[in-house]
Amino acid sequence: MIMDFLHIKHVSLTYGQIRILDDIDLVVSKGEFVTIVGPSGCGKSSLLKMVTGIQAPSEGEILFQGEAITDIDAKRGMMLQEATLFPWLSVRDNISFALKMKSVSRKEQVRQADAYLDLMGLSEFADHLPYQLSGGMKQRTALARTLINRPEMIMMDEPFSALDAFTRKSMQKLLTQIWKDFQTTFLFVTHDVEEAITLGSRVIILSARPGKVIEDLSIGTEKKEAAARIFTLLEQ
């Protein structure tokens, strides 16, 4: 049998008396872009925390490449609503943080970071400190910082929800391009259905608390483009 890339096996989560997530059972294959939508408080962030390894499920287990997730692992990167950059490091040094942790030579750090700066259109801001950046630039820096570590999967918790509509659109475009180029697996939480359809190759809809999977849709490229067109039309 081929090992599943990520298997969330009958996972439930309870905080005290309150059941947050109820029997979530999902298999995610390598290279998928899974978006998760659902009402506020249904446990989307909690689910991501469990996959990240900072929250243990109350029942069930999560297997990543066949092994139970018990702790944070550099194979699984993450990005949050706030960029959470290191305010004392320049944009370039923020991006190359993971390389520094691996004791990669400074020259190689700069070389790789500069490539990502270029990819993100941030070259001019390489030596700026995070507080000098706009919200979108911060998130691009955070994205580059995650990507440079070449994680096999990236968890994102509403990373664009604090951005204005225009910046969000351009971030979505960038992310789609990156998904195609890097072939990384994404687990992307959003409360924006349009965003979920635009980005995801698969959309999972959770019910209100306790969160259950009520819909699991694969979205082909054609359908996606159609949906995107409809959304654009609706906007006009």
Partner: protein, 271 residues
């Protein structure tokens, strides 16, 4: 865009020049007022010596015979040495101890109560004990200043650790940082702004405790000079001492500001 930025900078510079001007004006008005009050003879020079007299005394203590056998620079030097030594010792001990106590609840439970007990005590209250233990020499003075400076650093380091955004640590770990690397590459730099605030408060406390420290059995130091002069009603010497302490305090603060801007330019600007 760039043009606008420049314009803004220019406006800001003009504004700050304006405010500096206002400050200088206040200072000059104050000096003039002082001069007239003193020279008019309304108030006895015993209470308010004329600025001219204070200036002459300053020159005399500075370059002439000094005060009680030592020049002003010696007095100032002795005081700064006591302050500096106490501050360095307090920093070296309180920073690591505070950080560790922020990390470990056990250590915090052990050490925190002691710090919180002595912190609100008036320094003079326990100075007497320190003098009995350490004698009347420099040791007891430095110890007093050390205690004055220790608590603020300890407390700010401890709360700095407690207030670190947990997401920052989690992100670092997903980027492959080990526990050790998290400590040195995330925790310590995250704490820097608060550590600096603590250092600054500490130096302020030490400075204000200085006069108390030099009250007992000293024969040198600016604080001592002021107190000693007061016994002989030499108000001009007292004024010199007080003004000098004020200016030194301002200079120390300015140096701190410069260092802070250099080391933690992101302070107070979010992430």
């Amino acid at each position: 865009m760039e043009d606008n930025c420049l314009r803004m900078q220019e406006v800001n510079t003009i504004r700050s020049i304006k405010y500096v001007g206002i400050s200088i004006f206040t200072l000059l008005t104050f000096l003039a007022g002082w001069y007239f009050v003193a020279e008019s003879g309304l108030v006895s020079p015993l209470f308010v010596p004329s600025p001219v007299r204070v200036w002459e005394t300053f020159l005399a203590i500075c370059f002439g015979e000094g005060y009680k056998g030592s020049s002003l620079w010696v007095h100032l030097g002795v005081s700064l040495y006591r302050i500096g030594l106490a501050f360095v010792l307090a920093t070296l001990i309180a920073v690591p101890l505070g950080l560790v106590c922020g990390y470990s609840k056990t250590l915090q439970a052990m050490i925190s109560p002691l710090v919180h007990f002595y912190r609100p005590l008036p320094p003079l209250a326990y100075y007497t004990v320190l003098v009995i233990w350490l004698g009347i020499g420099d040791a007891s003075k430095v110890a007093l200043l050390f205690f004055a400076g220790f608590a603020p650093i300890f407390i700010s380091c401890q709360s700095a650790i407690e207030e670190i955004n947990p997401s920052r640590v989690i992100v670092a770990r997903t980027l492959g940082a080990s526990t050790r690397q998290v400590f040195f590459h995330v925790i310590v730099p995250s704490c820097l702004p608060q550590i600096f605030t603590g250092l600054r408060t500490s130096l302020g406390f030490i400075y204000t405790t200085l006069v108390a420290a030099e009250m007992v059995a000293a024969i040198s130091g600016v604080g001592w000079m002021v107190l000693d002069a007061s016994k002989f009603l030499q108000s001009d010497v007292m004024f010199v001492g007080i003004i000098l302490m004020g200016i030194t305090g301002l200079l120390i603060d300015a140096v701190f500001n410069i260092i802070e801007k250099k080391i933690i330019p992101w302070k107070g600007r979010g992430e």
